[in-house]
């Protein structure tokens, strides 16, 4: 892993025994009623972390994050925050983490999922964000504001920081939702200093000495600690304190000089040399100092309370207290000329450990930009694979352009990073630079990753194809993709797959489904040949989608089944089951459709689009079961987790909702959608809006505007037929038959649909369709298909089930709550819906979780589906 999840950042620091008890601060922390946020804001060394961790250790569900500068990147920040929440309450952030990793969902959508889970958590949960000042910035601010504003009452957040965060503090203050603990509160009083110095450190100082120390340090605990260290074993305490009090120097400078002077040479040297690294562990220290014994030294520093903070329970990782680390580094810079060499050694150690991000940081700090560039070039492919392009993107600013000008492989890596963060400006310039490098004398080029060179000509054109797509130029996309396929090395299946997929995507958006299908088929074959199976599954979603539109239902089913045969554990398996559910639904096999969704749930995280596709599939089933309100709730939920994943949005969720609304007779809502989309029966038609226009035709029929509907349907039919979109043709014919009360279009629809065994497209139309089918049956009694459809349409809604498999059945009220847990309503909304208090909802939830043997909302919903508790 280039940049692994740093476990120590989620570690709740254990406090040393012998803390001064500070009841006046505990009173602040224990005030919980109505308080959303506690802010501990004070300069370095005021004991913020100690206070926060001591408090959190007593809480039932603690979530802790020690933030770092790299968390200014939203992706990193939220990864740690969500992981901390997930560990405190398993299941609450599972879905949100998937959405976050897709890199495409707006942060509000990611957080909405977590907040919904949190809002029905039976137990209180406390989240501490330590050293928030390191992460605070424009990238994380919008999400943090949203989170703070929407925190449910059982969740409480504590931020410790050296600078007030840019959050709506004034508003929280005015509402009494903010508790603040500031430097003035954190200063040690004379009484607290007495307990610390005399009782805990055993110094036995008199009242006057303590008062002097307290005055000179202004109750700053970092300084008091240094003073205590300087005083230990001294016979001339009074003289030392007088000297200290009479000096104007920066307190920490003065005291740290004293403490360092007291240390044996080897300890002093160790402290200075290892101050270059952010986290300390024995072998790393050995590498930096060039001496053995780092582990023993760290343990000895911990025992003596000398600046180190343990970062785990195993005596493996430590860090220096931030304030002291800064001061140690000034001593190092001042006294030693070999700081670059120390960084170089640290960098080599990280390089060997495979932690490239840290290795690059130290290489840059040692001034060896060439080596940093080497490392970045080698790391780029893996970062791309792990979708960590943001890390790569950051390095563009750190590596001088001058170096990149001679490094074609690195330059292409940076192009990929820029494009994945949607920065297209200057990309074409960089691409032609690479072309020029390749055309020039090879002797001037610097290439570390030789393997990658042969990929460049194909990669350049692939990126150009992607650029054209981003600028809305499908013809250009197809053109550059063809060049890429031409220039790609034979063995470079990754590039040919990307080019084929881009070409397919451009054709798809343009409505040329056949060409699109060819592109995605080629991409899937290439990807399969190099073992990128999860990506094959991604292509399969698109292929089956195209096939469904083309009316090749059986082929779509085979596509999903073939993808499943590649391996059931693959990421994307969940998506294949959702696809099969959609096909079972069309066949009107609602049990199978529901079962596939359950299987999908059990597979856990899928590809980025799965959260929304899953909800849409369930909404279709709900509607088929006669629950349009439930269907609309699910569609709302689907919309919140919608991710485009670079695909054209050919079946917008809002259009599907308008269909459900029109079918249940809510015409004003459906009409409202038409107005918002600016749709009219006379619009110019395009494939991208085809689903919306068919939806409009449905609404026109429901409104009784049959003439307009028929005119629109006629045009849609010609367009779909010309584009080979038989699936659309069937649906349009069905609607025309209903609008005109005519069996002739129906006959054509049935002829097209019979080989593929369509059912729902017909029977979903209800009684108008039944009479048409009946009259057709009378005219052509030998034709079994219409008769079968007629029978399928007569089957009543399934009866309500008992609760098999539950020792302790749910009460009616608990079932009510459970049904709402399936929706995306948050806790307060569920309470409103049931006209009870939030606490009552929480109690019910607690009982439901206990009876179902689960600990979160997501599992409760899954279990409810398994036990069929939700059938009405």
């Amino acid at each position: 892993m280039v940049n692994p999840l740093v476990e120590t950042k989620l570690y709740l620091p254990r406090n040393r025994s012998g803390l001064v008890s500070r009841p006046r601060l505990d009173d602040h922390l224990l005030r919980r009623d109505n308080v959303r946020l506690t802010l501990i804001s004070a300069p370095a060394g005021f004991g913020k972390t100690t206070l926060a961790s001591a408090w959190l250790a007593e809480r039932p569900r603690p979530a802790w994050v020690s933030l770092e500068e790299s968390d200014q990147q939203a992706a990193s920040f939220w990864m740690y925050v969500l992981t901390a929440l997930e560990r405190a309450a398993p299941g609450v952030a599972e879905g949100a983490l998937v959405l976050l990793q897709s890199g495409q969902a707006p942060i509000e959508a990611v957080l909405a999922g977590v907040l919904n889970e949190l809002s029905v958590q039976p137990d209180d949960l406390d989240l501490v964000l330590d050293d928030y000042h390191l992460a605070d910035g424009p990238e994380i601010r919008p999400g943090m504001t949203f989170l703070v504003e929407h925190l449910p009452p059982q969740v409480h957040m504590l931020i410790s920081t050296r600078a007030d965060p840019a959050l709506p503090l004034a508003r929280l203050r005015a509402r009494g939702e903010l508790v603040e603990i500031r430097a003035a509160d954190l200063r040690f009083t004379v009484d607290e200093a007495t307990v610390y110095l005399n009782e805990l450190t055993g110094l036995d100082l008199d009242a006057e000495a303590i008062a002097t120390l307290e005055g000179r340090t202004e109750g700053w605990i970092a300084a008091l600690r240094l003073a205590a260290l300087s005083l230990q074993g001294r016979d001339d305490a009074a003289a030392f304190i007088d000297g200290f009090a009479g000096d104007d120097r920066y307190v920490v400078d003065y005291l740290l000089d004293e403490v360092l002077d007291l240390q044996p040479d080897d300890v002093r040297r160790f402290l200075l040399e290892t101050s270059v690294v952010d986290r300390l562990t024995g072998p790393l220290c050995d590498a930096v100092t060039g001496q053995p014994g780092g582990k023993a030294m760290l343990e000895s520093l911990e025992r003596q309370n000398l600046f180190v903070v343990p970062l785990d329970d195993h005596r493996r990782w430590y860090r220096y207290h931030h304030l002291f680390a800064d001061v140690l580094r000034t001593h190092l810079l001042d006294e030693r000329g070999d700081v670059a060499e120390l960084h170089r050694r640290a960098g080599r150690w990280y390089e060997k450990a495979g932690e490239t991000v840290a290795a690059v940081r130290h290489a840059l700090a040692s001034g060896d930009v060439e080596h940093a560039a080497d490392l970045v070039e080698l790391a780029a492919p893996e970062l791309r694979r792990e979708r960590q392009e943001a890390t790569l993107r950051r390095w563009i600013d750190d590596i001088p352009d001058e170096l990149v000008r001679h490094r074609p492989v690195l330059a292409i890596g940076f192009v990929g990073a820029l494009m994945s963060s949607n920065e297209f400006e200057g990309v074409e310039q960089r691409l032609s630079d690479v072309e020029r490098m390749l055309a020039g004398p090879p002797g001037e080029l610097v290439v570390v990753d030789r393997e990658e060179v042969q990929r460049l000509p194909g990669a350049i054109e692939t990126y150009r194809a992607a650029l054209a797509l981003a600028s809305g130029d499908p013809a250009g996309t197809i053109e550059h993709a063809a060049l890429a396929l031409d220039r790609a090395a034979d063995s470079d299946r990754l590039t040919t797959a990307a080019a084929s997929a881009l070409s397919g995507l451009a054709s798809w958006a343009g409505g040329d489904l056949e060409h699109a299908h060819r592109g995605y088929t080629a991409a899937a074959q290439d990807l399969q040949s190099i073992g990128h199976l999860a990506d094959v599954l991604g292509c399969s979603i698109t292929l089956a989608d195209l096939e469904t539109t083309q009316g090749h239902l059986r082929q779509a089913q085979r596509t999903f089944e073939h993808a499943l045969d590649l391996g059931r554990g693959l990421r994307g398996t969940a998506d294949m089951y959702v696809g099969l559910s959609r096909i079972a639904w069309e066949r009107n096999d609602l049990d199978a459709a529901g079962n596939y969704l359950r299987l999908s749930e059990e597979m856990g995280a899928g590809l980025p689009q799965n959260p929304y596709r899953w909800r849409v599939a369930l909404a279709r089933i709900r509607e088929a079961e006669g629950d349009p309100a439930g269907a609309c709730d699910l569609l709302d939920a689907a919309e919140r987790v919608y991710v485009g994943d670079f695909s054209p949005n050919v079946r917008p969720i809002a259009a599907l909702r308008a269909r459900v609304q029109a079918a249940r007779g809510d015409l004003p809502a459906a009409r409202d959608w038409v107005r918002r989309q600016g749709l009219s029966a006379d619009d110019e038609l395009s494939y991208l809006r085809e689903y919306e226009h068919v939806t409009l035709a449905r609404i026109l029929i429901a409104e009784g505007a049959r003439t307009d509907a028929v005119r629109l349907l006629g045009r849609l039919e010609s367009a779909a037929e010309a584009g080979g979109r038989t699936g659309t043709v069937i649906e349009v014919l069905v609607l025309r038959a209903i609008a005109q009360g005519d069996v002739q279009p129906l006959e054509r629809a049935l002829t097209l649909a019979e080989p593929e065994d369509y059912v729902r497209t017909f029977i979903a139309e209800g009684s108008p369709m039944s009479s048409l089918l009946a009259s057709l049956g009378r005219r052509r009694p030998d034709w079994a298909y219409p008769r079968r459809l007629l029978d399928a349409g007569r089957v009543a809604a399934p009866p309500a089930a008992a609760q098999p498999g539950l020792v302790d059945p749910l009460s009616d009220r608990e079932l009510d709550v459970l049904r709402l847990l399936v929706s995306e309503l948050d806790g307060p909304s569920i309470a409103r819906e049931l006209v009870v208090s939030l606490n009552t909802v929480r109690t019910h939830t607690k009982h439901i979780y206990a009876k179902l043997g689960v600990n979160n909302r997501r599992s409760a919903v899954r279990r409810a589906h398994q036990l069929n508790l939700l059938t009405r």
């Binding site: 370095a44 800064d326 810079l333």
Partner: protein, 80 residues
């Protein structure tokens, strides 16, 4: 507000050892007998100035004033 480099003078409460100059990327650190310290020199732009202020925040020194000053360093070395 200029986005180009400019000279600044930052006054702090407390005497800071001159070795801190390298910590502040070569700015001049001058302690006075009145118990304050002046850090002065040229900073590249506003972002660099904020970087210096952040470093001061991180060592917990109380800030007394920040001022843009005359670019001629000769007039500001009296305390040296």
């Amino acid at each position: 507000m200029s986005h180009d480099s400019a000279w600044y003078e930052i006054r702090l409460q407390g005497q800071l050892h001159p070795r801190w100059a390298s910590w502040f990327d070569g700015l001049t650190v001058t302690s006075s007998t009145d118990g304050t310290t002046v850090i002065h020199g040229r900073v590249a732009d506003q972002a660099a100035l904020h970087g210096v202020l952040q470093k001061l925040r991180d060592i917990g020194l109380p800030l007394l004033s920040v001022a843009q000053i005359d670019p001629d360093p000769a007039t500001h070395t009296s305390g040296d």
